[in-house]
């Protein structure tokens, strides 16, 4: 089975995010780029599927500037991915998921993957749709919020998270494209042997300009700090006076107590 995993490099979630001066991206001075969280789960799921099958290939696909991408691609290869495809992008970076999916589709359609996995959404832009867009463009059935997979023959069964603690099993014919929810598995750490071996693995580069065939459909116009719109009343002092103020609030302001 030939599996592609879409991986995005994103600012680490502990970063202090400040809008850049031109308000089109963030200040990058203190930002460390890392593998997007749900993408790391997608990669692990692909490796587990390949191991369970006993054969196959896991190819990681990443788009972005070289300085950011190479670290996460090396990490993915060190964890066990067989090779990588890097779509090289320079500023300004694309933010339209449709355009990104189209570029990915043009870049990988000749590979004829049996399965494409992506994380559910990125922690930076959080558009949450690139995987489904790509799957649709490649003519595949898609499923999102996947928290378990079972391969049998030319079909895959996935457990999907619905709302309010509900779940559903859905069967899809292969080839298929799945968006993976965090928590589906426990991502491994790269072994020393894996890290050494990664250096010999292939990273194919594709120039974004060569596979960009259309205009973008939407764009991020401005990034900025959100205005804090709440007025907060701070209640300090002794517990007894705090409790008495809380009782007032519950009774007269929030009004959740019966008459």
């Amino acid at each position: 089975m030939k599996i592609a995993v879409l991986i995005k490099q994103v600012p680490g979630s502990d970063s202090a995010f400040r809008a850049s001066e031109n308000e089109l991206w963030i200040e990058e001075m203190q930002i460390q780029y890392e593998m997007n969280e749900s993408d790391a789960y997608a990669l692990e799921e692909a490796l587990l599927i390949k191991e369970a099958q006993g054969s196959g290939e896991v190819v990681v696909v990443c788009m972005g500037p070289s300085a950011r991408v190479s670290k996460v691609l090396r990490e993915a290869l060190a964890k066990g991915a067989d090779r990588a495809i890097h779509i090289v992008e320079e500023d300004p970076l694309e933010t339209d998921p449709y355009q990104i999916a189209n570029i990915l589709s043009e870049s990988i359609k000749s590979e004829s993957f049996d399965l494409i996995l992506s994380g559910l959404q990125s922690v930076d832009l959080g558009m949450g749709q690139t995987g489904v867009l790509l799957g649709t463009m490649l003519g595949m059935p898609t499923a999102t919020l996947v928290i378990a997979t079972e391969i049998s023959g030319d079909k895959i069964k996935v457990k999907r998270e619905l709302e309010s603690g509900w779940f559903q099993w859905v069967g899809l014919p292969l080839p298929a494209c799945l968006s993976i929810q965090s928590g589906i598995n426990t991502p491994r750490y790269p072994s020393l042997k894996g890290i050494m071996g990664a250096k010999k693995k292939e990273i194919k580069t594709i120039n974004k300009g060569d596979v960009q065939l259309r205009d973008s459909l939407q764009m991020v116009n401005r990034i900025y700090s959100m205005q804090r719109d709440k007025k907060t009343e701070f209640i300090e002092g002794e517990p007894d006076s705090q409790v008495s103020r809380l009782m007032d609030i519950l009774r007269s302001e929030v009004k959740v107590l019966g008459a």
Partner: protein
């Protein structure tokens, strides 16, 4: 045609978040001088028509097909694609539910129309529609514009608009012809099931008492439970409390748990990590107790109680029981 708002059904009713989406569509329609049509789709949508007609809309469009009996990504996206083709709406509006996250991107790819997801507010600036979305773990805002004239698919975040603010009306109903064949639906869905929900629906609770790591240890959970009982609340938790096994997963609030917007969210010992806040910031009132005056939860709280929850909660519970 203006705006097409698609109404989702949940538990034999129109999804509460879909009513919020109608309020959002009405706001968009006011600002762009457009009319709104609503779409009901399913095998038999008759139980929902009356409720939909009671909204201020130009019309309610009904698309029925037996193959829409249960949700499928292929089936639902194909029908919405057909309706878009026939009706040519400028915007398609939905609530940002799990179902929408699953099939609206497919509609985007099929129709060649951009999907702007998880929108928190809308305005027209210099004659251009601008959609605001949170980015970077909800720490920053962003303005998104749709290029060209083809419009877009828009989903509104939970509590971006209030369901109560929807304007009422008396809309006519129109059937629309659609076609769908079994071979177009490639996936096979089994019946949805719940994993030990304990019969609890946090999303419909009016008051939640939610416990965080600051509670300290499992033996203190009954103290929070007593407060919840005294105030008539359901008990909820942040992820660390669930990961520690102190409360079951179905009580978890946040990005990996439930998304709630109760009348009162009473947070106890929760610091306010963003993964938690995204699941509850739509609450109408937020009271937070934390010993750290810098706790991020206070950023979004209406009432910030700075102090030792172990001192405050038993006293508050007692006061509630006495009244």
């Amino acid at each position: 045609m203006g705006i097409l708002v698609i109404l989702e059904q949940k538990e034999n009713s129109i999804h509460r978040m879909s009513l919020e989406a109608v309020a959002g569509a009405q706001d968009m329609a006011d600002k762009m001088n457009m009319e709104i049509s609503a779409l009901l789709m399913g095998a038999d949508v008759s139980p929902y028509v009356e409720k939909a007609q009671g909204l201020e809309l130009k019309e309610v469009i009904v698309a029925q097909h037996e193959l829409l009996n249960e949700y499928s990504c292929d089936g639902f996206s194909e029908i919405v694609r057909q309706v878009i083709e026939k009706e040519s709406p400028n915007y398609v509006v939905m609530a940002h539910t799990y179902m929408v996250r699953d099939f609206l991107p497919r509609v985007s790819a099929l129709s060649g129309v951009p999907f702007v997801p998880d929108v928190v507010s809308f305005q027209v600036t210099d004659g251009k529609p601008v959609f605001t979305k949170q980015m970077f773990n909800s720490k920053l805002g962003s303005d998104i514009v749709v290029n060209g004239a083809q419009g877009g698919l828009i989903s509104f975040q939970s509590a971006a608009y209030q369901a109560e603010s929807v304007r009422k009306g008396d809309a006519p109903v129109r059937d629309i012809e659609i076609s769908l064949t079994p071979d177009q639906i490639r996936s096979v869905s089994e019946a949805p099931f719940q994993e030990s929900s304990g019969g609890v629906d946090l999303t419909s609770a009016e008051v939640l008492v939610s416990v965080g790591r600051g509670i300290g240890e499992e033996s203190k959970i009954p103290m929070a439970k007593a407060l919840a009982d005294a105030i008539g609340a359901e008990l909820a938790a942040s992820r660390p409390v669930v990961d520690s096994g102190w409360l079951p997963p179905f009580r978890q609030i946040g990005s990996s748990g439930q998304n709630v917007s109760p009348k009162l969210y009473f947070s106890v010992g929760i610091s306010g990590a963003i993964q938690h806040v995204v699941g509850m910031k739509g609450s109408q009132n937020i009271i937070a107790i934390n010993k750290d005056p810098e706790a991020p939860i206070f950023e979004i709280a209406d009432y910030a109680v700075v102090g030792d929850l172990h001192e405050i909660i038993p006293r508050l519970t007692e006061a509630l029981q006495e009244q």
